[in-house]
Amino acid sequence: MSANLSALFYLISGILFILALRGLSSPETSRQGNYFGIAGMVISIIVTFLSVSNFGSGFIYVLIFLLIGGSIGAFIAFRIPMTAMPELVAGFHSLVGLAAVFVAISAFLKPEAFNLGVVGNIKLASLIEMSLGAAIGAITFSGSIIAFLKLRGIMSGSPITFKGQHFINLILGFLIIFLIFYLCNSQSTNIFWSIIVVSFIVGVLLIIPIGGADMPVVISMLNSYSGWAAAGIGFTLENTALIITGALVGSSGAILSYIMCKGMNRSFFNVILGGWGATDQTKSAANIEQKPVKSGNADDAAFLMKNASSVIIVPGYGMAVAQAQHALREMVDALKKNGVKVSYAIHPVAGRMPGHMNVLLAEANVPYDEVFELEEINNDFANCDVAYVIGANDVTNPVAKSDPQSPIYGMPVLDVEKSKSVLFVKRSLSPGYAGIDNDLFYRDNTLMLFADAKKMTEEIVKSL
């Protein structure tokens, strides 16, 4: 296959990938979009085979390795529970990052195969592109591994900080740039390896100071990095499909990070520099017990909701942890039978990744047109009888609107307190991730339901 023809096919793949993302503008077109994506991928792979046109024993091995990877991927995709989606995505990002590193290494060791010059005399531009691709890929890899370990709970979600952390990151960042310059002059293999090693370290150091609830930003950011790494490799290989895709993924991740940061009213740098979750929790814990709290049981909650005309459900990460989404749907079904109007309110940063709550509700067969975003539903709380807060905390805290001293001041929150009564399912009065007390607990119209989210919801279903 001529280089021009294959370039045109790669362009078609790129367009199909754009359509794949475009399809996600509505759930109706999304499945079709996914097929466009698959088609684009198949075209890219076939065109590559045809343009390399080496159908010897190597080709067989390529197919075998493709199948091995493919079956592992398919197995994971079918087995993974929806609640584990954040760590799955983090894990997948790490694979893209590592694949980018491997391709870059291979291109460095055998530049002839990619028309980049010969060993010891690789084209300057290619050298810069491949070392950037490898560096970003390596950061993506090790960063995603840390994110995966934190989300999986293997590593503590609390931020790990030490003195001079940012200074060290800065030095290492400059070191990578310096090493790339040096590589361009010397073409030395050792320098190339050091770039990769330093980048691995940077990836780890970048993510360890970031706490659990900031993970939506981190995952989006790593998503973005994996795109830039792919684009870097795309420039090296002079491959349009890879360049287009890299740019798409890079900007997608960047936009998601931006949306997540806005959802917390924090700047991107504030999140990345980390350490937010480390606020002194003991201080706020001391004065918690002194304020009066109303608490109730499942029967009270069932009574309140049954007699309401509208109920808004506010799910959060706690729902995912307790796997309460199915019980919740049953509760809503029972309420609907009683003629209660039910809708769901999702805060942009609820859960551990963008759209996390929506997927869980979809899994529990909640129709997507009953689920609303913050801006769509926030005015409805004033007209609603009961707000059922399940596993959310900081995103409902009215302090964000009233107390300029509070660390979450200015963060957009759901106006839960405006509804006639609030049912707050929570295991204890402990403060949320931000380490601040939730003023909502002590409001007159709040009834605390102290229990596991799933158990409480099931009990309510029973008494309904």
Partner: protein, 101 residues
């Protein structure tokens, strides 16, 4: 004077960033998780580079160091491609509209 092909690629790159910017803003927030898994799947088009790397060089010795890195990258990218598209499909199947009564 001739234009360096790099400039063309850079143009494609920058235009694609703009396309990505507008396309992604139009994605409905409820589909942000599938968006991440599908972007993850499509960024595995890096497998193109992995295949070239794996098949490079002589046919006698297909397991030179550079080939081995290519093969490893194929496995990693394949996990992502299959895993990414399938898990996206699985999620999208779950998004249903309210049944009209």
């Amino acid at each position: 004077m001739e234009i360096d092909p790099f400039i063309f690629r850079l143009s494609i790159f920058i235009l694609s960033i703009f396309v990505g910017y507008y396309v992604v803003w139009s994605v409905t927030p409820s589909l942000h998780t599938p968006l991440m898994s599908v972007t993850n799947a499509i960024s595995s088009v890096i497998i193109v580079g992995a295949i070239i790397a794996a098949l490079a060089g002589s046919t006698e010795n297909i397991f030179e160091t550079s080939n081995v890195f290519g093969f490893l990258a194929i496995v990693l990218a394949a996990v992502n491609i299959f895993g990414g598209f399938l898990v996206t499909q699985r999620m999208l199947q779950m998004y249903k509209k309210k049944k009209n009564k």
